[in-house]
Symmetry: none
Subunit: 221 residues, 4 copies
DNA sequence: TATGAATGAGCCTTCATTCAT
DNA sequence: GATGAATGAAGGCTCATTCAT
């Protein structure tokens, strides 16, 4: 119905607005302002602000799948490391703003079934991705025998918790500490003996380029 | 300036309102409605809604200390278990509403220095509490030698992440899974050999009774 | 310019929408929704919503003439009775919704010359119709000598007032009472001595079939 | 709760706005503009625009009772005449605007239970008033024996219908004609033999002075 | 002939905050 | 100490209408 271009325009504006003003100030106007369209146009394409946001979550999920494929061919340990570092990324990362705002949005989910539904889908994808990595690692012998499903849940909870505490408390230590402790206490029994989580990942989990068209990205130095 | 009674009245009303309507609907009116005072009274006692909320966080912290003492004399393992179960409490827990709303509030912290400051204090207390338990456990020989500081951070992140995913996704599995995996993968190396995390805690981490004056609490039915 | 078929499609949709949502919710979208055309199409065929509505009133008038003819050959008293019962129809009548909405529209006429003009034409037709019946009744000897013009005006006012009070107050008594009192106090001096208004009409004043193509009508159940 | 003065201010503004812009343009802003208060103030005193309007209908009713008393002591025929002329008032009457707008409001009643309820109360009062006059007239011998209840309903319907047709069609004839015909055909059998409806009433049914504080009223030339 | 997209103006309502009393 | 009244700024949403295609 809404053509891909318009959809992208609105979704990108939503992303920008979210990063710049946060979820609780994510007004229709704030989105429209980052668009060459009027506020009314948003309501032409989406029935309500809520539906627009739900569509945005879905848009994120769509992008996630593609980004996964980009590191598909890497060995399991590299993929896992990429994941860890994506989650526990440094505070200078330009995704901090986004994740911060997205936490606000997630905090609404208990009150909003539509959001909750979409976030569940997102959770499914994420867990499946990690499970697949773990499973592949077991197969390849890089990882020990274990239950990928429960380990995935544990890792996700831990990383998410660390990230949230980092953002909300402004305490970057959480990331560092949790990365190290995860490596030492959780992954020690998951990785094959002798295998260790590299200090830094060799592949980076790719960014959602749809939101970073013009600008630098992983500028060196 | 504001006497203790008035303060408590307002803080209790804030707690109630938070549980009933969530943070984003926590209007001055919503709080006043749960008070025998007028909306204006709130602004007489607190300069702004923001300050009131900040004061509320502080009020929570004040209560926390007292509650800690109530299980002070228990052996370290029991205290740890109480902590675990407090965090990973079942979905029927009447504190779910509060934690859900409080997550909304925490999600504002990145945008609000006042909140962030208070939440940091809260984080300090919580971490210290866990560190103390861990330290005592080492001393008593119930726990193995380890760095209480980093383990506390790991546990906090993991539990918090599990709880948040439970609430926001409506997926209770996270709690169960994470409790089990934490016991098996993290605590296995923290508890002394042969010591295990009990399936259920013997002491309950005490509730904040200031908010549960009149009503039932843990009355059996 | 606009061919008869398109015109009918739009007019019928307007009728439907009017019945279903009332005049104040009679948006262009509401009409288009009951059409296989787009909202824009309405503005292609009519310069404005106002003109469309004005055209609709005219369309009603056009239909009225034809329906009149259908009872043309009946004796004056029967025709008069048909009129009375059409106006003072029971609350189960499926025309209630239409008349209710049409009252809203009529209430706009004082502010809208275009509507007023059309409604005047409608009033003319209606009054003429009644006058003709009355005149024919005088001629045929069924009615006493009287001034058909003023009596028509009196009847119209009385019936209309009764109907409006019924609809707006939800008080069906008005219809019954006014029918009886009209018979006893007004028509007593209009009908020839010994002639009485039948309790129920033998002919029904015909419906506008253009709006009831497919559906039942007065099919018995 | 809302003190009488404020209430009057808002109700008077509502009256003015209604007269000047009609019901369908009776926005909160339109009312506030005729007040020295802000739009928000309206919502402080009334929960919604709808409730404000409902309160306005009630305010009208309150006023009506008092105005009735002002002609309480007049003989029945005079009172009846006052009523007739109030209803069938000339087009220059400054109440035309109000009645016109009020018709719009009444036309919403079928869709709005709150309005309908209030309008029913208004209908009750009006009918009782006329019934009382009729009853008194029978007692005093000025009127013939008849059923005041049904006659009141008939008169009300007739006058209301005439007025509505006058306003909506811009046809003043309705008033004149209906007044004459009512006198000749309806009241002829209601008034005692020899008693006639005066061409013009001697008492005027009093205006609602709450809405006409400063200005002229019936000042001659 | 028709439409999808878009928009500006406007509406109702909410809310933190102020202030005179 | 406390409150009732009030308000400005904003927000989500609607709708008649326009216009390029």
């Amino acid at each position: 119905m809404t053509d891909a271009d318009t959809r992208h325009t609105i979704m990108a504006a939503t992303y920008e607005a979210l990063c710049e003003v946060g979820y609780s100030d994510l007004t229709a106007q704030a989105i429209a302002d980052r668009t060459d369209r009027s506020k009314s146009a948003l309501f032409y394409h989406y029935d309500s602000r809520e539906e627009l946001v739900a569509a945005f979550i879905e848009y994120l999920i769509d992008g996630f799948d593609g980004r996964l494929e980009q590191i598909d061919d890497r060995p399991p340990l590299e993929q896992l490391t990429a994941f860890v570092d994506w989650f526990l990324s440094g505070p200078d990362d330009d995704q901090v703003a986004f994740h911060t705002a997205f936490l606000e949005l997630r905090a609404q989910a208990p009150y909003n079934e539509l959001y909750r539904e979409k976030l569940r889908e997102s959770d499914d994808r994420l867990r499946e991705a990690i499970e697949t990595i773990l499973r592949n690692g077991i197969e390849s012998g890089d990882f020990q025998e274990h239950d990928p499903e429960t380990v995935a849940a544990l890792l996700l909870a831990t990383f998410d918790g660390a990230r949230i505490r980092q953002f909300t408390l402004g305490r970057d230590e959480y990331l560092e500490t949790v990365r190290e402790e995860t490596a030492a206490r959780i992954l020690a029994d998951v990785l094959a003996p002798g295998v260790e989580l590299p200090a830094e990942s060799q592949v980076e989990f790719p960014r959602d380029e749809r939101f970073h068209d013009g600008d630098a990205g992983d500028r060196p130095e």
